[in-house]
């Protein structure tokens, strides 16, 4: 059987090249993420660092590991998805050949063995290429993460021999699993189909496909309804789940959806002869259309869905900050300048938050375990009275009223860490150890990097206070316009003055920049992979249609018309893929919409229109080029030689 496998390789070069590409890129992507993650985990902390620098570096690495973990998950999902859809497609394209083998006495088990043998061969070749391509991909991934600030400058990823085990497992494993379902389906091919030009048994919507499609759709709908009543973090996680499940569901069901949409598009296309032909091809080549649309659905759903979800989260965090702050202006300055704000005319209340360079060691209680940890960043010194008057923050335990003397409050950034109110922490201020009592713990906020500790400003020596960076929330006196006070502050030369709204928008924008960075890492290479899969499907579909194209030309179409009809068809498939992807993304965003309505009583959804437009243009460009190129290649010989060469 393996000899037959080997020989059919030559005959279906493009088909198999497509499958090898899918495996190789998937392996490279997974391996690159894995190696960078391992390297980040093992990266040594250089000696002689200050505690704060150590903490920052460690947090960088932890953050990078989280992002890489998600990348790895996404890469694995995409690899499984794309490889199995590509393999299923290659098997479906060879229906007649497989029926012939059955007619010559090939048993079902033999056919499954043949296809698995092929998958083994393709998987091995793909994995070998993937392991090699994975090395430059690893450097690229690391470079991307350094550029985006997730990893420190000097970071360099290293090789780990473990991938020589993991990569083949993934590459060959995914190939075999991917082809298994298709092989079992192909084994049901009736020998009679070899005697007919069109296999009557060419059913696309098999029971297994129905089952997976409908169950994934049900799961997606369940998640969408769940997301309507989830909190923000829940909505975010569900959003990601909806993107993945929804893509799988709509890809599985696309043979139903594609012709339906094709009929709608048909009203548009039927005006011209070529359009009519393209529409008929769309309806007829359901599997081909579905295979091309599948990677597009995933690409659009994940990119638009995740960007929109994270963007909405940033918008909501900004909105939350705006509401938490009970003031008119925000002034960013040094501690020394901030001291002068209260004396500016028109200022009723000025609450200064000083970012101080101290460390706090506290006991954490999580999941029944308690441990001591030292924190360096995110510690602010405040005047409790002014702070309470300018913030709506409610402590979920204790009270900010008691924040004076040798005390400390747990900020929103550590709200989930289980530091108990009433316990004692140790603050290191200017080399002096001060034991402080935890008197309050604030409720968590949506922001990623919010304050960890609040300590009374009296604990900080005056010279340290003057040098610390400060942010002051100002409430103006009744009857005084904030703009008047703002210009007075500027005239006095005190730092940078913004309205609370501007400041909150700025923070949301900063969060969004960070999100885009995360997405660039998550989807950068994965997006490229999905794009390659789209091209792959177009090329496979085109190169196996020589006879069909030849028949069309014999019927009187010119070569140019055949190319154009195929182009119109690929446009229609692209449009369908994009629309279905957007449907999934909309499902994910609907959860964010509901969550924002509940959290802030305002619809806050960031639809990434620019990204959507870019993806739309890029998809059309890529599928058009691929379609024209393959159709031209497939129609190069004269039609009659194509029709005659029916072995």
């Amino acid at each position: 059987m393996l000899t037959v496998s080997l020989h059919t390789f030559r005959e279906h070069r493009r088909l198999f090249a497509g499958a090898v590409t899918a495996v190789a890129l998937g392996v490279a992507l997974v391996q690159a993420s894995l190696l960078v993650m391992i390297s980040a985990d093992r990266a040594p902390l250089p000696p002689g660092l200050t505690g704060r620098a150590r903490e920052e570096l460690r947090e960088d690495y932890a953050g990078a590991a989280t992002v890489l973990g998600m990348t790895l998950m996404l890469a694995t999902f995409l690899t499984i998805f794309i490889v199995s859809s590509t393999f299923a497609f290659t098997v479906a394209q060879r229906r007649r050949e497989l029926a012939l083998l059955r007619l010559l006495g090939g048993g079902r088990a033999g056919l499954v063995a043949l296809l698995l043998g092929e998958a083994l061969l393709l998987g091995t070749v793909g994995t070998a290429i993937g392991i090699i391509v994975g090395i430059p991909a690893m450097w690229l991934q690391a470079l991307l993460m350094i550029r985006l600030g997730f990893l420190p400058d000097g970071f360099s990823p290293g090789w780990d021999a473990g991938v020589l085990f993991v990569s083949p497992c993934i590459g060959i494993g995914v190939s075999l699993v991917g082809v298994l379902a298709a092989a079992r389906r192909a084994a049901k091919v009736r020998p009679l189909d070899a005697m007919r030009d069109v296999g009557a048994a060419a059913r696309v919507m098999t029971p297994a496909r129905w089952l997976s499609g409908v169950s994934c759709l049900a799961l997606t709908i369940w998640m969408v309804t769940l997301a309507q009543s989830a909190d923000l973090l829940g909505a975010l996680l569900l959003g990601i789940g909806i993107c993945i499940m929804g893509s799988v569901a709509l890809s599985a069901l696309s043979p139903l959806v594609v012709p339906l949409t094709g009929r709608a598009l048909g009203l548009l296309l039927r005006r011209t002869t070529l359009g009519e032909l393209a529409q008929a091809e769309l309806r007829d080549g359901v599997r081909r259309s579905a295979s091309t649309a599948a990677p597009l659905i995933v690409l659009v759903a994940l990119l638009v869905g995740l960007t929109g979800t994270l963007g909405s989260l940033a918008l909501m965090a900004g909105e939350e900050q705006r509401r938490l702050v009970n003031g008119h202006l925000v002034v960013t300055s040094t501690g020394a300048d901030a001291e002068r704000i209260a004396s500016v005319p028109g200022v009723a209340v000025a609450s200064t938050e000083l970012s101080v360079e101290i460390s706090v060691r506290a006991r954490h209680h999580r999941q029944g375990r308690s441990s001591g940890r030292t924190h360096y960043g995110g510690i602010i010194a405040v005047d409790a009275t002014a702070y309470r008057r300018t913030h709506h923050l409610q402590p979920h335990a204790g009270s900010l009223r008691r924040l004076h003397g040798r005390t400390i409050a747990v900020g929103p950034g550590l709200a989930a860490e289980g530091i108990r109110v009433g316990s004692t922490a140790t603050a290191a201020i200017d080399g002096r150890k001060v034991r402080v009592k935890v008197v309050a713990a604030l409720a968590p906020t949506l922001e990623n990097y919010s304050e960890r500790f609040l300590i009374p400003r009296d604990l900080i020596p005056p010279d340290a206070r003057a040098a610390a960076p400060a942010r002051t929330v100002v409430r103006t006196a009744p009857g005084v316009a904030p703009s008047t006070v703002a210009s007075a502050l500027r005239k006095a030369g005190i730092g940078e003055v913004e309205t609370v709204a501007q400041w909150a928008d700025g923070r949301a924008a900063a969060q969004q920049r960070m999100n885009i960075g995360i997405l660039a890492v998550l989807m950068g290479m994965a997006g490229g992979y999905a794009a390659v899969a789209v091209v792959n499907a177009v090329v496979i579909a085109g190169s196996e249609r020589r006879t069909e194209f030849a028949a069309a030309r014999v019927a009187g179409l010119t070569r140019g018309q055949v190319v154009r009809a195929a182009l119109i068809e690929s446009w229609a498939v692209t449009a369908i893929g994009l629309a279905l992807g957007c449907t999934v993304a909309a499902g994910a965003l609907s959860g964010m919409l509901a969550a924002s309505l509940r959290a802030v009583d305002r619809p806050l959804v960031a639809v990434p229109w620019t990204l959507l437009a870019a993806i739309t243009l890029a998809s059309f460009a890529v599928t058009s080029l691929a379609s024209v190129w393959t159709t031209r290649a497939a129609t190069k010989p004269t039609p009659i030689t194509q029709l005659g060469a029916r072995e």
Binding site: H7, R10, G105, G107, R190, A645
Partner: protein, 251 residues
Amino acid sequence: MSITPMAGVPASELRAVVRDHGGGNARVRALDGVSMAFPVGSWTAVMGPSGSGKSTLLHCAAGLDRVDGGQVYLAGQDITWAPDHVLTGLRRRTMGFVFQSFNLIGSLTAEQNVALPLKLAGLRVSRADVRAVLASVGLGDRLRHRPRELSGGQQQRVAIARAMVTRPAVLFADEPTGALDSASARTVLALLRRMVDQDGQTVAMVTHDPAAAAHADAVVFLSDGRLVDRLDRPTARDVAERLALLEAAPC
């Protein structure tokens, strides 16, 4: 599991076979109670106007298509409801197929194409046997050619060699000369005739062509799914006349 037909038992037999195509309003009775036998060591041609059910008859006899009524026997064994693995086994050793569109595997050489059924059956492939079979169809010098490097007639002879390599009890041929020029068609028909005469091969052939049917030992005529006529030791002229009568018959 190889089956050798017993003396007096037809290689292939249909008893009151009914086969419907389509469902509901589109239902068409392709075979309407057909009973006939393909005797061992003889060549039977099945003829009839387009849509008379002759291809369906061949498919049913070979167990490729299920019947809706009646029984199908192959070498004395009832295969009407035989499970797939039994039919697969029969296809490996007891049946051979030849088609109008040769259906060779384009990537394999002539030699590899012929050896394929043996490999599929898990048998040891003797190169000498394969070469002998190819030589017997007159292609001893084309072993390493791929189908696209062969003429239509040569491709069909490779297909016959492939069908014969397992020494099947019955060879099913569906329009074997339909895609060939007349000279190639004559070569192929002479080859089949020789196999019947010298080796006692049973051949069941569907054809449109009276000249092809005239090479057979007997011709049966189908019309609207029923067996309507039979000619023994036919001549091309007799066959053409009967066929013309059938085609002119009022519907």
